[in-house]
Amino acid sequence: MSRYMVKRLLNMIPILLIATLISFLIMHNAPGGPENMFLGAEQNAEVDASRLSALREKWGLNDPLPVQYYRWVKNATAGDLGYSYFQRRAVTEVIAEALPKTLELSLIVLVLTYVIAIPLGVISAVRQYSRFDYLVTGIAFVGQAAPVFWIAMLLQYGVAMHSGGLIPVSGFSSPMVDFSSYGWLSVIGDRLRFLFLPVVTATFTGLTGLTRYMRSSMLEVLKEDYTRTARAKGLPEKLVIYKHALRNALLPIVTISGGILASLVSGSVILETVFSWPGIGRVGYEAVVGRDYPVSMGILLMGTILTLLGFLLVDIAYVFVDPRIKYD
């Protein structure tokens, strides 16, 4: 197991290098580099050319790309992701501020998705072709085809704008409501109001795929010989389903969990834009559009690492859920 882990971790290095190299090369070929953005040269043509080149020199953009990439990798391995061009602070600081907000949202969504999707899928499968089953699979199938931001806007209009101010349309918290001036109960209450719509939206989108997957996995297992054996030896139906069948049906769910983690990182861009949530997706989007290379690269690197870790976690989880699997 530990040897396998070391091998897997070592395998991540070339993948990370290729992934960051691709991102780096694409990014640095963007027209209208950061110096133009910084001085607003695209709107105002009278910016002094010497100031532009001074900025390029200061940011090291005049060096050949391979040199720049090498420098970035060298610094990144030392934990230094550089300085933001526009925010005048370290990229690690920018990430440290935005990441917890994204994690807060996505962890709640992740837990809720699993807690709701697994029972829904199981009941759907056990009562296959019942009215409940048709309702759940129908909503899940349709929901999978709906754009997230459309669902978000439907909720913003249908719920938030008709809630008399109880549910905010977007944002992270009310201004000035923080722990220093309010009691913790009112701060948490305030945060929960803002969390409500993004959590409902993201959980619904996550549910659609996972429920369908759980249902088909459970149906598969219910057809297996060992399920029939469990029934034949006279076990109560509840025990057959929740002990014998469910455990096996969860295996494929573990497999797709890596993808779900990855989609949370990527999906944060849309979700945080539509709800003005100041997390990593929003900050990353603004950095890419504004040509803030160090911030963009830092967030891309972090997103890539999170995705890789997601897949690694899945592999580790296998060992615990499936005794047949052993790595050596």
Binding site: P14, I15, I18, A19, I22, S23, I26, M27, N29, A30, P31, F141, V142, Q144, A145, A146, P147, V148, F149, W150, M153, L154, Q156, Y157, M161, V169, S216, A262, V265, S266, G267, V269, I270, T273, V274, G281, G284, Y285, V288, V289, R291, S296, I299, L300, G303, T304, T307, L308, F311
Partner: protein, 302 residues
């Protein structure tokens, strides 16, 4: 001969063995697809949408850039069945125009993705285990682990959001999953007897790949291609929603949602209608994909 149950069993057996009867292959595929009513309905819906896109100039009551601020933000009425937007443009007319961009982006991005995915997957699978296989699969994995929306917006920032660029960008970011499917098919097919036989007869690699192995791997490629169109339409709408997709005066369903978002309170209809064609189109492609999977290869049936 035999009981009705026997006959039914024989029929099922026939249907599950492609080419077992004298019927041409395509006929039995059409027959099996026809039996799936949801998939047939979905196909009808798609043909209808395709016609709407083709005949947009006739069907839309206003030109794409027609502005009439006097009727700004009018709710749905007989005059404007889906209301008007902030420039007084008829929402229904714009939905009809938007179908052109959304559908063509879906098809062409899918085409790109399928061509790249098939070539990469075929090469990696046919030369499985070689340095080429390892290199191609490493690149596929690297593209796959970069959070896709970040990659997309980075590419759009470089190439500028024209419709053509959007198609290419969606295509070149979505091939890895298909490459893996094709690679898996090639790995198993290259070891089959028919491949060995043609090799023994002196067939060159290119002939083996394109004439012998690829036709046998085509079913999962077609199914994946169909599902990809829906995904590409969703991706285009996400990019347009972020303001990085289709640019005015052109319009797409995603772009309309982005514009509608800014006036959600005053004119909710502008932000609600465009979601429906996206939903229906993606749903229809999903049903057609499912139907094709069952029709092309009954063994793939879930």
């Amino acid at each position: 001969m035999g009981t009705p149950a026997d006959k039914k069993a024989v029929a099922v057996l026939d249907a599950s063995m492609v080419g077992a009867s004298d019927e041409p292959l395509w006929k039995s595929i059409v027959k099996r697809y026809w039996r799936n009513k949801a998939a047939v309905l979905a196909l009808v819906v798609l043909i209808f949408l395709g016609l709407v896109a083709v005949f947009a100039p006739v069907l839309a009551k206003e030109p794409i850039d027609f502005i009439n601020v006097v009727v700004r933000h009018k709710p749905p009425s007989w005059e404007h069945p889906m209301g008007t937007d902030f420039l007084g443009r008829d929402v229904m007319a714009r939905l009809i125009w938007g179908s052109r961009v959304s559908l063509s982006v879906g098809f062409i991005a899918m085409g790109m993705s399928v061509v790249i995915g098939t070539v990469v997957g075929a090469l990696a699978g046919y030369y499985g285990g070689s340095w080429l296989d390892i290199l191609l699969m490493r690149i596929a994995e690297a593209v796959d682990v970069i959070p896709v929306l970040f990659l997309l917006i980075t590419l759009v920032a470089v190439f500028r959001p024209s419709i053509f660029n959007i198609m290419m960008i969606i295509g070149i970011t979505s091939w890895p999953s298909l490459a893996r499917i094709v690679r898996g098919q090639f790995l198993s097919l290259r070891a089959r007897d028919f491949t060995e036989a043609s090799r023994a007869l002196g067939a060159k690699d290119a002939r083996l790949i394109f004439r012998h192995i690829l036709p046998n791997a085509i079913a999962p490629i077609i199914v994946s291609a169909t599902l990809r169109i829906g995904t590409a339409i969703l991706t285009e709408s996400s990019l347009s929603f972020l303001g990085l997709g289709t640019q005015p005066p052109n319009t797409s369903w995603g772009q309309m949602l982005n514009l509608g978002r800014q006036y959600l309170k005053q004119a909710p209809w502008v932000a609600i209608w465009p979601g429906i064609p996206i939903l229906i189109t993606v749903l229809a492609f999903n049903y057609v994909g499912d139907g094709l999977r069952d029709a092309l290869d009954p063994r793939m049936k879930q």
